[in-house]
């Protein structure tokens, strides 16, 4: 095989650390500003589509 065992091992060590760093970021609490933004976008849509006549 062209792949050596040590390369596999190296990739394993790197990916393990990578996943830990990434998991730390995923675990961060999502700031309220994003949930507020989504709520705001939603309410804008509801206002705008009211002209179409379909009841919300």
């Amino acid at each position: 095989m062209g792949h050596t065992r040590r390369n596999d091992k190296e990739a394993e060590v790197i990916d393990e650390n990578l996943r830990r760093v990434y998991q730390d970021m995923l675990d961060e609490k999502v700031p309220d500003r994003f949930l507020d933004l989504i709520a705001q976008l939603k309410s804008q849509d509801d206002d705008g589509s009211a002209t179409g006549g379909d009841a919300k």
Binding site: E10, V13, I14, D15, E16, R19, V30, F34
Partner: protein, 184 residues
């Protein structure tokens, strides 16, 4: 209107922020980009094909915003490295395990394209095909970026030193099997 795919957006927020932070290495810039992405995704939702990978679609919007800003700026933000490495809490290292700070310092030295490819494939678990589509490049390009990113990290972390690799490997195995090193 019951099946609005936009209801799904909230679920992707943590991943979107993590991806933005990996790319920008700066918390404030990352959050501005997430905000931008949400607004764009909201208005362009008709271009999303239901049933396909929404996360990949959102990542595509975010990275396109990032690279287009970078082109306009003409250079990368220079102080990003410090912000990224200091903004996250430090966990205690066990024995020979790589220090997270060391890993982060090495990680931010990769090129944007390498970091992006490595995060998508190595951490987010995208297939090479999904990563290639997200980045708008060929599958082979993603593969070579991932390989180069790993090789570069190996160099920076001196994993070519047999002792270093041996130690981190043992510690990694301990983590995988759930065993805890006796001493802290």
């Amino acid at each position: 209107m019951s099946d609005d795919p936009r209801d799904e957006l909230v679920e992707h927020l943590p991943a979107l922020r993590a991806f933005a932070l990996s790319l920008t290495r700066n918390g404030a810039v990352a959050d501005d980009m997430v905000q931008d992405t949400l607004v764009k995704a909201w208005s362009k939702i008709s271009s999303f094909e239901p049933g396909t990978n929404m996360r990949a679609w959102l990542f595509t919007i975010l990275r396109n915003t990032y690279y287009s800003n970078r082109r306009k700026a003409g250079r990368e933000v220079s102080d990003a490295e410090g912000v990224f490495t200091e903004s996250l809490s430090e966990k205690p290292a066990h024995d020979g395990r790589l220090q997270m700070a060391d890993f982060r310092r090495a990680f931010v030295q990769l090129t944007d394209e390498q970091r992006e490819a490595l995060i998508l494939v190595g951490a987010q678990g995208f297939s090479y095909e999904d990563a290639a589509e997200t980045c708008g490049v060929a599958v082979g390009t993603i593969k070579s970026r991932v390989n180069r990113a790993r090789a570069r990290l190996g160099e920076l972390l001196k994993l070519d030193d047999d002792d270093n690799l041996e130690m981190t490997d043992q510690a990694t195995m301990a983590v995988v099997t759930g065993a805890r090193p006796a001493a802290r």
